[in-house]
């Protein structure tokens, strides 16, 4: 048990540090893309997901893994994901963002965490009813990872998907580069040519960007102490998060946040005298009949807060931040929607967008669509007075 706890501490600390230093925020990634087409963090999220997919695929193929998380798929992912997406946009932080910002000293996100706990508890109480009224009619099939059902070796499948993703990105990049100079498109033939050349132009730009990034990284290494206090590129965060996730996948499980949080809620309530185990959702679903106790993943997400605190303190970004009173509804409402939504889906942005897509879980593709749709709708509402780009 001690080595597993040590791994939980290392992975948690690493995730906390990289999330904090890279400002790795899923709300930012999608909201700011919809609001004003800012895709800096979106690229970091995509890079982390695709890289993790490749390494998990390799680990899975060679048997170095502990198991997938593949809930049954259906419309639950879409409905719950949508509620979660609305909640995280309103709260101003996703499941992982709430954790690392709690570590940075934001009292608002401690309040968000508290109300996510209320959401988990409310869901648990309603679970028997929800099972027959919500989960049964909306669930269509058994949960499955595409890694497990195809005859294609997992590492090749992951590489193909990641390669496809990069190619699509390069095409979009190349296209935006060519459409930026309309005067060059003098006739139909050259238009066709630029469309064909778009992936190549994009790939070259992508390669240039990557080389530039690696040079920047090398420059940063010349003065590591100063660099460690500066904000980091989201791509650096993506690399670090991938490393931590690979260690976790080979030793424990996929990375999740709201599952362990829902377990924390049950555990803390049981310490306060509530018979948590007698509730079906805590007793037999979350703790799988093993008794309400501290599990490895609960320790890991606790260390995410510690890691974020250490990184923020080191960088001069730590301070106890008191929210304005008019933002309390965001923490309360957003937290409740995130807590309940992550159970209704099930899964949060980490379980479904990051880990779920990296493990090619069918359920997570649906839930990811739901979450992103929720962010889209909520972003338009928050930006209603100044307008969104998309």
């Amino acid at each position: 048990m001690v080595p597993t706890l040590l791994i939980a501490a290392i992975v948690g600390l690493a995730l906390g540090v990289f999330l904090q230093k890279g400002r790795f925020c899923f709300v930012n990634a999608f909201r700011d893309f919809f609001a004003y087409k800012d895709s800096r963090v979106t690229k970091g999220v995509l890079a982390a997901t695709l890289l993790t997919m490749v390494f998990w695929g390799i680990a899975y193929q060679f048997g170095y893994y502990q198991g997938f998380w593949t809930p049954e798929w259906g419309l639950t992912g879409l409905v719950g994901g949508f509620i979660f997406g609305v909640g995280m946009t309103y709260a101003g932080g996703c499941a992982s963002g709430t954790l690392y910002r709690a570590g940075e000293g934001y009292l608002q996100f401690w309040l968000t965490l508290l109300f996510m706990g209320v959401g988990y508890a409310a869901f648990t109480v309603a679970f028997p009813t929800l099972e027959s009224a919500y989960f049964e009619p909306l669930t269509f099939g058994d949960g499955v990872s595409l890694f497990a059902v195809t005859s294609i070796p997992a590492s090749l499948l992951a590489l193909a998907i990641a390669g496809g993703g990069v190619l699509v990105y390069a095409t979009l990049l190349g296209r935006s580069a060519t459409t930026a100079t309309p005067e060059e498109r003098s006739n139909a033939a050259s238009v066709q040519l630029t469309v064909l050349l778009a992936p190549i132009a994009g790939l070259r730009q992508f390669a240039r960007g990557t080389i530039e990034y690696v040079r920047g990284l090398a420059r940063a290494w010349r003065d590591p102490l100063a660099a460690s206090k500066r904000p980091w590129d989201p791509r650096t965060a993506a690399l670090g998060i991938t490393g931590a996730a690979v260690l976790w996948f080979t030793q424990v499980s996929i990375v999740g946040v709201t599952g362990p949080e829902a377990r924390w809620t049950g555990y803390l309530l049981s310490q306060a005298g509530v018979e948590a185990e007698s509730y079906e959702y805590w007793g037999s679903v979350l703790f799988q009949g093993q008794g309400v106790d501290v599990t490895t993943d609960m320790v890991m997400i606790g260390f995410v807060i510690v890691g974020a605190f250490l990184a923020a303190f080191w960088s001069g970004d730590f301070s106890v931040r008191v929210p304005k009173r008019r933002r309390l509804p965001n923490a309360v409402g957003g937290g409740l929607l995130m807590g309940a939504g992550s159970r209704l889906a099930p899964g949060c942005n980490i379980g479904n967008i990051y880990s779920g897509i990296a493990e090619l879980s069918v359920h997570s593709f649906i839930a990811a669509v739901g979450i992103v749709a929720g962010v889209y709708v909520m972003t338009h509402w928050i930006y209603r007075e100044v307008g969104c780009a998309i």
Binding site: C25, D32, K43, G92, S176, Q205, D233, A312, R321
Partner: protein, 97 residues
Amino acid sequence: MPSIDDVTNAPDELSDDEADDLLEEADLVQDMMGEMCPYPQVEAKKGLKKLESGDLLVQETDHVPCTENVPQAVGDDADARVWRSGDATYRIYLRKR
């Protein structure tokens, strides 16, 4: 044109003296302490609408991501510079174009 090169384009930083001098000539100062994204972005856009070209809008914030997100959100509407206190408070200076 979006490019992967522009992943980190934090605005230029101001020295302590520059930051104090500029604060005195600000045409609009917004107190964004304790505020989360995206509200400072929305307020910056609203604030800039009220100002004339060449006017200066200053936001005081303790939310680190705002130092990158607010300048990105206002885009070509303003030239942005940032001051970091080193103690988890920041000021964002937006000069309307």
